[in-house]
């Protein structure tokens, strides 16, 4: 049905003479997502569908749910090759295990773009990602600035050994090392597996172990920072006495920023999803293709289109503050 509508739209465009596209059929893009159970993934999917090329029927994006399993994603990559998709975009589950998808796509001569998380290879056409080290640095910086580089912090980590935990942790440490030596003490660091419920219990236990000693909370994602906020409230402390930050910019975190409870570092789901579609379209359509998403306008000077030929597009992070939070909430329909 979608295909029918898309082709109808396309043919009406051609009648109007408004298209210069050589292809009669829409470009078929397989978008392999590592899972679909988190708000961030949902946002990426939504923005992928809102890409102008998709809306105008020039591209047809099919989303695949990798079910948080690298092996499932590899199978889906093989399936996309077998079904002769024109391009593949992968948001990989695993840094190493999913390199396979790049390999099979290259063997079949299908353009492959990596987005959101990274893969430990240089063989892909292009990467459209945000630098997690930078994200970790920015969030820790936000906490340390509020503390004036002085006090005790705790770090709530992502799943141990995942690239998110490793790279954001590296960024956290870099920010801490910029403070005078010994001025900031990391009281505790432990994983809560990106989960709000786990972080809630963990932070409650830390507040019990270190009553009135914790000044700052560095959550390696927003959900865990939000769990820490719930723990602080349930222990009877005032959230505003703590410096708290997280990464991602999920809607609840935006609300918490608005309430003055935390800082969030927004990972731009729109920039990643739509940027990678533009890069894939360019590779399939050829030199006639001009990027259609307005993200290139938005990030002018920070991330250049460069004819779709950049090896690694670094989608900038946005520090969410009370000043810009209303616009972001509005964009999500709140």
């Amino acid at each position: 049905m979608k295909k029918l509508i898309a082709s109808l739209m396309l043919s009406s465009l051609m009648v109007a003479g408004a298209t210069t596209m050589a292809n009669a059929a829409p470009v078929r893009i397989a978008f392999l997502m590592y899972g679909n159970k988190a708000e961030f993934v949902q946002l990426m999917e939504r923005y992928a569908k809102e890409h102008p090329a998709v809306k105008q029927g020039l591209a047809e994006v099919t989303l695949f749910d990798g079910r948080y399993d690298a092996a499932v994603q590899n199978d889906q990559g093989q399936m996309a090759v077998n079904s002769k998709y024109d391009a593949i975009i992968i948001n990989p589950m695993d840094f190493e295990a999913n390199i396979d998808v790049v390999t099979v796509a290259n063997e079949a001569g299908i353009p492959i773009v990596v987005t959101n998380a990274r893969l430990n290879t240089q063989d892909m056409l292009s990467e459209v990602v945000s630098d997690d080290v930078e994200g970790g640095y920015l969030e820790a910086k936000a906490v340390l600035e509020k503390l004036g580089c002085k006090g005790n912090v705790v770090i709530i980590e992502g799943p141990k050994g995942g690239s998110g935990e490793i790279e954001r942790g590296r960024g956290n440490e870099r920010a801490i090392s910029e403070c005078p030596e010994g001025a900031v003490k990391v009281l505790e660091r432990k994983t809560a597996n990106w989960s709000r419920a786990e972080a809630l219990d963990l932070m409650q236990n830390w507040l019990t172990a270190h009553p009135k000693e914790i000044d700052g909370v560095i959550g390696q994602n927003d959900e865990m920072a939000l769990g820490a906020i719930e723990a602080i409230k349930s222990a009877g402390y005032d959230v505003k006495d703590f410096a708290i930050a997280g990464i991602d910019g999920v809607t609840d975190a935006l609300r918490a920023v608005k309430a003055g409870e935390m800082t969030s570092i927004l990972q731009d789901a729109r920039g990643q999803a739509q940027g990678s579609i533009d890069v894939a379209m360019k590779a399939v359509v050829g030199d006639d293709y001009k990027p259609m998403s307005d993200i290139w306008e938005q990030y002018k000077g920070k991330m250049e289109w460069n004819d779709g030929k950049t090896k690694r597009y670094d989608v900038p992070w946005t520090i969410v503050t009370p000043e810009n939070v209303d616009a972001l909430l509005k964009d999500r329909g709140y």
Partner: protein, 338 residues
């Protein structure tokens, strides 16, 4: 019935006390390790052995405790319920959609206070549990398989409700059930756990239904020939488990302030662990709610104590895994069931 007459015999009494001893032993161990830090001067006071920390542990075990109560009935009846984590997420998501101030997440979303969302959660949990029980008893499918199906389907329903999005901005009336405190001290989730445990204890130990659950789990055939409607008993057991998954869904959602599609993932395993540590036999017919309660407490004390002591999460998993196996090996009454 069988169990009633056995309850007075020594091995079973041993088991019941055994778990209490294990619990006290664990508390002493963690408390001593904390005291060491006080002696060393790293801590101003013993953070573990305080009333507030005990209340905190009760708060933290409330979700697993409620699930484990339902799981106790299921395991005594000779079955297993793998779907409780998914049903927790599903009922929590449904409840949240009736308790949110953020419109548009579902077609019917809105804030209707606390009563309606809670009723919805309990109804969703009970109905899904009834479906489990009906499939198991009507088609004679192993509980493991039927509830494995529900584990997957329940997660799918959860995501289908909101297209995979979380539901947040929940109203204060609803959130009270996760964050409120009785007399300004006792967390409401702990109070709910207490009420659930008490009522369940009465049902299991003082009613005909409870005796029938033991009978069905001990030997379904002879239970049937002695005139027990085993199908009905089984259905009600899974309704109870689903209902309690709904209760746990309300607690977790109200506690975290957000219904997440991944909520409760693998919680069924923690619930089974609590029941098994508590001395129930997976082959059915044997188990006690007091044992389950202490089983949940042991898991809770361990998570809390190891966090407080700053033990890395890898070791936490190793210790937890070992404990489950040791609890069963050391169970003095195990030979009875084997």
């Amino acid at each position: 019935m069988q169990t009633g007459s056995r309850a007075g015999t020594n091995p079973l009494a041993m088991r019941e006390y055994g778990i209490v001893f294990a619990f006290i032993g664990l508390c002493i161990l963690v408390g001593a390790l904390c005291q060491l830090k006080v002696v060393q001067g790293t801590w101003p006071q013993n953070a573990f052995l305080t009333v507030n920390n005990l209340l905190l542990i009760l708060h933290q075990i409330s979700v697993n405790g409620v699930l484990a109560v339902g799981m106790t009935f299921v395991i005594i009846s000779g079955g297993i319920d793998l779907s409780v984590g998914s049903l927790l997420a599903f009922s929590g998501m449904m409840a949240a959609s009736f308790a949110t101030r953020s419109p548009g997440v579902t077609a019917w979303a809105g804030n209707y206070g606390a009563f309606i969302p809670i009723v919805v959660a309990l109804a969703v949990g009970s109905a899904s549990g009834a479906l489990n029980g009906w499939i198991i008893s009507r088609f004679k499918i192993q509980a493991f398989i039927a509830t494995l199906g529900m584990l997957m389907a329940g997660r799918g329903f959860t995501m289908a409700v909101t297209n995979g999005n979380p539901i947040s901005a929940l109203g204060p009336e609803f959130r009270w059930f996760g964050t409120g405190k009785l007399f300004d001290a006792i967390p409401i989730p702990a109070v709910i756990l207490g009420i659930v445990f008490l009522l369940a204890w009465i049902i299991l130990n003082k009613t005909v239904f409870g005796r029938y659950v033991y009978a069905v789990g001990g030997n379904e055939k002879s239970a049937r020939t002695s005139g027990i409607n085993t199908k009905a008993i089984l259905i009600w057991v899974y309704v109870l488990s689903g209902f309690l998954a709904g209760v746990a869904g309300v607690i977790l959602t109200a506690k975290t302030g957000s219904a997440q599609t991944a909520a409760g993932t693998s919680y069924e395993l923690d619930a089974i662990a609590a029941v098994v540590i508590g001395g129930a036999s997976l082959s059915g017919g044997i188990g006690r709610l007091t044992g389950t309660f202490f089983g949940a407490l042991i898991i809770g004390v361990m998570n809390n104590g190891l966090d407080i002591l700053g033990v890395q999460s890898f070791y936490q998993l190793i210790i937890k895994g070992s404990l489950i196996v040791f609890a069963v090996i050391l169970d003095p009454s195990r030979k009875l069931t084997a």
